[in-house]
Point group: C2
Chain length 308, copies 2
């Protein structure tokens, strides 16, 4: 009975070390050095090669290393009866809320404009907006969206949300799918925290950008698949929106030839809004491993049809 | 009986308009177009020409347009019996707290490094520090320092303070003048919110930088006079500190030839951490004007000897 760690984009050594510290008896194999594929029942996975999991005949669970699972579910050759879990980590959630707060403060305080001015030795005092004067719209109101909303509201921002169904969460009005226009037309800073599903891919497009408040700003901290990248450049160049802070991209690392690198109104961070810390999630992964062995129900199992 | 508005660095028209809206009967003169200097009893002042106030024989009060008063007190020819007031504005205080929070989040989340990486098309995932792992030391623990401490603590940062005398404010340990070494040696992000006095000028110097935690970061949102500017560059170049976010400078606007503009580890904003909004402070100024006329004690009067 083995665990396999499959990570083509992130280093595996920390994971092995952290898991072993918690349970020395674990049998851990690291892809691609898998000697006994028939032993593998549990995979800890980040951006695996398509079709890989067909090679492990006794695989029962694929555990994502992070909050997202689209990198697993998009594999059309994923074995049918394998369960998929995601990380719901309190620290991961808090980190995301803080990163969104940082971006919204930076935008309302014109920080990116000032840093751009510095490059050209230009001193220009600009009146800022207070958080109270700034309406942030959060698309996707799950665990991460709610934490971002809480952090923003606690620091004075005016916040609205958007989700499948309308509701009120901690005093924040969340608009439903049939109220999308109402949500967009009041939004000055749009924060995308949607899961990736067939319905949400490409949702950040020029039609949507046109419906926001004038001089709106986009913060995408969900997934690159949500954004039609060429539409963002058109929308900025045509003046529909003012700029964007992007942490995620269609292709990561962002290719050197990509026009985002040099765009003065687009700020790039390398997918660091919220980073899984092996130490803080190892406990959760091992708990599910034990539950699998004991035949118990898993924590944070994903509905493979819904995609979240 | 007249008010004079003296502002060599900020536009006066907004002030006249806002004050007149509150009280149409006010007689307001705008420097340098002062027709009847003997009528002037109350000055609303920002960076006046040295010696100017000797020309107004009946002047009773000089009210600073902002939180700082050093621009008034440094005038060696300031009439002896004139009272000096400062603005203590709740919005000004909140704005400062939020700007400090923005800077501390940006530093702990490596935002400036990522934006620098963007310029050279370099994708590098860097592990961030959580606020809980980040110790912020606030020098100067008056109204503004306390608000910064509150905002930082509310968002998870570990905070200590430094003031003349040791105390505990809202659960934050504030070290006294005789405990400076203890305060500095644990500080990772040093936030300067001191008033400008003969004792605090040049306090941010190389000896102080050497006492901070390795890879510390400076945030100066007080006044340019606090920082020995050449020491900052030496301290960064010699590796004593990692970088700085500066909102204030010895000379403002920062001269085009100044080495700060091009320094990759120094972030510049044009004195916008907290900007006086005429609307929100006009009430406070007029209140003091009325108190002066009625012979009552003034609000937020400064001790001219202490300088704050």
């Amino acid at each position: 009975m083995s665990i396999v760690i499959v990570s083509t984009a992130r280093a595996s050594s920390h994971w092995v070390k952290t898991l072993k510290e918690k349970d020395e008896s674990l049998d851990i194999q690291v892809y691609p050095d898998v000697k006994r594929p028939e032993d593998i029942e549990f995979a800890i996975s980040w951006k695996h090669p398509e079709g890989l999991y067909q090679n492990y005949p006794n695989l029962k669970v694929i555990a994502s290393m992070g909050a997202g699972v689209n990198h697993i579910l998009k594999d059309e050759n994923l074995p049918k009866n394998v369960k998929v879990t995601r990380i719901v980590d309190e620290q991961l959630t808090k980190d995301m809320g803080q990163f969104v707060l940082l971006q919204c403060l930076a935008i309302s305080r014109n920080l990116f404009t000032h840093l751009h001015d510095q490059k050209r030795k230009h001193w220009e005092v600009k009146r800022y907006q207070t958080p109270e004067q700034t309406k942030v719209g959060i698309m996707g109101y799950g665990v991460l969206g709610q934490e971002a909303g809480r952090a923003l509201k606690a620091n004075g921002f005016s916040v609205v949300g958007y989700a499948n169904s309308s509701k009120t969460v901690d005093g924040i009005r969340v608009y439903g799918a049939d109220e999308k226009g109402q949500f967009l037309k009041q939004t000055q800073i749009l924060v995308c925290l949607l899961p990736v599903t067939p319905n949400t891919q490409g949702v950040l497009n020029i039609q949507l950008f046109k419906k926001l408040q004038p001089n709106a700003y986009l913060v995408n901290v969900a997934r690159g698949e949500h954004l039609v990248e060429k539409d963002l450049i058109s929308a900025i160049d045509q003046g529909f929106i003012k700029g964007a802070s992007l942490d995620v991209f269609q292709e990561e690392p962002l290719p050197e030839s990509h026009p985002f690198w040099n765009h003065k109104d687009i700020q790039i961070t390398p997918h660091i809004a919220s980073m899984t810390d092996p130490e803080s999630v190892a406990k959760q992964l091992l708990d599910n491993y034990k539950r699998m062995k004991d035949g118990e129900s898993l924590i944070n199992e994903v509905n493979r049809n819904k995609g979240y």
